[in-house]
Subunit: 512 residues, 2 copies
């Protein structure tokens, strides 16, 4: 069954059960199905057909789930974009995807407006929120729609989501995820973690595939899904108590916020059965503290956009039986296969470092309109993750470093080259290396190392300000350090691994 069909099924079996909760809005499964069908019929009337990309730029909101399901149900391709990107970055992705329709929050539409003349493919702008001149109003659209679905066959092999990840080359890469891919990764985690039936809470941004996945599997189980707009420890804990939440998914930044919040003991969290942690590795001490605090099962999930999550650490189990494995990302998840390979794609011996590869129905179909990158990523039928890992004889996977020059910060991927390209535009800069350095809150923090041209001057503030003009906030360096020279590799490339050493001294790994 394609995932949107689960909504239909529960609308029939449990029509009055609450499906979605966001702030003071709620809808039942029957109402959700009705809204999904109306939106699908409205988009169809606008001219959206099977295979068309419908882009989405929204913060977390009540409408997010119905938008995904309506697009999927009509065989179109949901293309969620990161609302933290700049207008220029968003326009680049809109063009690349060739979306013919954009669903955008009224509060974000100004960012796009200057680029509309360049966006040749986008025929329709639909605004969610305040009515906005020159755009179609979302509520009007579904309010006047027939709810009659277009007659179209949607198969498991059709695309459901086009998920953009940053590109190392500076070119955006869109991972094509079919209904099959998402169905598989959802089932994998339902079984791997025995996800409870009941009530799910999502606080992570729903544009991200790492949130689409728990969103979908909660609906596959017929769970009520409560969505929060932002990370506020008190609000999260109060919601768990009030809605009797059984499942939630937290990133390390959320976990840190919750664990440092002083009022947390006030709340009744006894309904919680399972917390999935993800979006980058967590220190064993954080996992241990979380398990003690939440008194429920805590599972870590590791993976990436192209595969969903492929490894799982079962924290409470490992604490009990094998605490020494807590620094690992766990073992291969249900219905996935993994290998660790060298540069020639040969399996490396147990305990040796290599690239983590994964296989399974969850692995993406490829990158949108990038046959070469697709062939490389899926060489030999295995997704090459770019993560350098060590696997012990029992199959526990230890993340060590990244093949790609990429920083993972607060659940986002930042490709160093993109940031370096901007800094290089500063007239005083001779050479720049952007690296990730360890950070308690974000996992890793973006740092720029800069060599100035002889006789030129600039400041840390100036470099950061330049980046902020051009890049989404999470991509901008939090600090800049000036160097006289960089160590180089044999091929005269900057030896980033050497540069990183100074900042990672005392850490076992070189990624967080």
């Amino acid at each position: 069954m394609i995932i949107p069909a689960f909504v239909d099924k529960y609308a029939w079996l449990y029509p009055d059960k609450t499906a979605v909760i966001f702030e003071d809005r709620r809808c039942s499964f029957r109402q959700l199905k009705d809204r999904v069908d109306r939106l699908a019929s409205a988009l169809s009337r606008l001219g959206v057909s099977k295979g068309d990309r419908v882009a989405i730029i929204l913060e977390n909101c009540f409408e997010f789930p119905e938008i995904y399901f309506a697009i999927g149900k009509m065989g179109a391709v949901a293309t969620p974009l990161n609302y933290r990107l700049t207008g220029s970055e968003l326009a680049q992705l809109l063009s690349h995807s060739g979306a013919n329709t954009l669903i955008v929050a009224s509060v974000l539409v100004d960012r796009i407006v200057p680029f509309i003349p360049e966006l040749a493919t986008v025929k329709h702008y639909v605004c969610v929120g305040e009515k906005t001149e020159g755009t179609l109003d979302y509520d009007d659209l579904i309010g006047t729609a027939s709810g009659k679905l277009p007659e179209v066959e949607v198969s498991m092999e059709d695309l459901f989501v086009l998920a953009y990840t940053g590109g190392t080359t500076g070119r955006p890469k869109g991972a094509m995820l079919t209904h099959r891919n998402l169905h598989c990764v959802c089932n994998s985690w339902i079984v791997e973690s025995t996800v409870p039936r009941g009530s799910g809470l999502l606080v992570t941004p729903l544009f991200h595939v790492g949130s689409i996945w728990p969103l979908c599997f909660n609906f596959m189980l017929g769970n009520t899904v409560t969505i929060l707009a932002r990370v506020d420890p008190e609000q999260i804990l109060r919601t768990i108590e009030r809605e009797r939440i059984t499942y939630t998914m937290w990133l390390s930044s959320i976990i840190n916020a919750i664990l440092s919040y002083l009022g947390s003991s006030k709340f009744d969290l006894s309904s919680l059965d399972l917390i999935t942690c993800g979006g980058g590795p967590l220190a064993p001490v954080q996992l241990r503290r979380l398990a003690e605090f939440a008194k429920c099962r805590v599972h870590f999930a590791g993976g990436q956009t192209e595969t969903g999550a492929v490894v799982s650490a079962k924290v409470e189990e490992q604490l009990r039986t094998q605490p020494e494995t807590l620094g690992s990302a766990g073992r291969v998840a249900y219905d996935f296969e993994v290998r660790v390979v060298d540069e020639q794609d040969n399996d490396v011996p147990v305990g040796r470092t290599g690239e983590l590869c994964a296989r399974g129905d969850a692995v993406m179909k490829g990158y949108w309109e990038m046959p070469e990158e697709t062939a490389q990523a899926l060489k030999g039928g295995w997704l090459h993750s770019g993560d350098l890992v060590r696997m012990d004889e029992k199959g526990y996977v230890y993340y060590l470093d990244r093949k790609k020059d990429m920083i993972k910060t607060g659940g986002e991927n930042v490709y160093c080259k993109e940031v370096e390209d901007v800094i290089y535009e500063h007239p005083a800069v001779a050479e720049v290396a952007v690296i990730g350095v360890p950070d308690e809150k974000w996992g890793e923090m973006v740092k720029a190392l800069v060599i100035l041209k002889a006789g030129e001057k600039t400041t840390e503030e100036e470099i950061i300000a330049l980046c902020k003009q051009r890049l989404a906030g999470f991509k901008c360096p939090k600090s800049v350090e000036f160097y006289d020279s960089f160590p180089k590799t044999g091929l005269m490339k900057i030896a980033k691994n050497v540069l990183r050493e100074k900042y990672w001294a005392g850490f076992e790994r070189r990624v967080h």
Copy 2:
């Protein structure tokens, strides 16, 4: 992941865990993988290639799981046949499937020998058990095999099992089940019933798809699987106690045997978490008694070879919250869609009788070399089950009968199960079959055939009186006949067609 790949995965993750137990033989997952690989390499050396059918005629035995997995792993098609069939019936199926290899129990091979000259396609006979002249010895074969797998790509869309179902027309029908089909139905039930990790017990014949399915999902979860050769209540209960069985699957005949076994209270069954009941409808009173006896979750699974199981009654849950639904087969299972249609394939209104249709990845690819029957069975993309059901507004499905097993009497339709459910409530009744027999006045007359529990007594009058208290007059049996035993089908269902023969001798048709 194809299901045989799960064995490889657990052989790596839990090499020393026990995988299979049969009588005094046990093997670990590492040993099971080794045996699977050896068998696959041996079959490959014999000339078995991808897509070839390998027929199997075996009673339950230690080797059964490894045979399925080896055949599936090399992309060949496991074609298990009912060992209760006559030599001539088996030869017909062997010819129909075009199998090039037969794996057969030594104790059963004599049944085939007279037909060998006719079996043009079968090149190799492999005997399991005593060495048998003129056949290849199974143990020699795997003992001398390299274990080097043939280089072949096996996809989820390739056939895994060719499952013969009794043909109502006399022609055998082989349901083609792909790796995808079995993977889907297994996942469906793992999620639907939250199948426990631990230890599974299988007592039903492993040639039947109704057993392949729990066999496979237990291995997908990495569970130890204990197999018994036959239904012996004391042995079943002792095995549950000794192996700390968490999951088992029982047919109504097994349930009856267990519930009438006097020594059952002697055993510790506290490890049991879930019993799946299937292989035909069960009377509510049986379900209730089973739940009381086993003190664990009891789920009924309804479906057929062509789809796997599509509906599920959660007995312990329904007893608690909606006891009035216990006569139903439950609601549509996870990852399946169902409809109830009339002869023109239009949905019937809620509460009206129609044919149950199902859709999902578990639905077979079709019947082997029967394009017309396939087109008819899969009309409009929905599997037409041939089951007449009524569905209430909450989605509970009430099986009324097989399309052809309904009694038409005096212009009224009588659904046998409804009458049988009432007769089962009589404390003296062990087993009952209600059939239609020819009648001059009414066309067909309702007749009940009854087996009494050991030492119990009742009369025709008492049975009829019980029915009259509960059912409209036309539904009540006009006569009752007492039997010592019933003929059974492969899955131990009562062979009603055989029972009817006696009464319809001399008539051209079997309905009036």
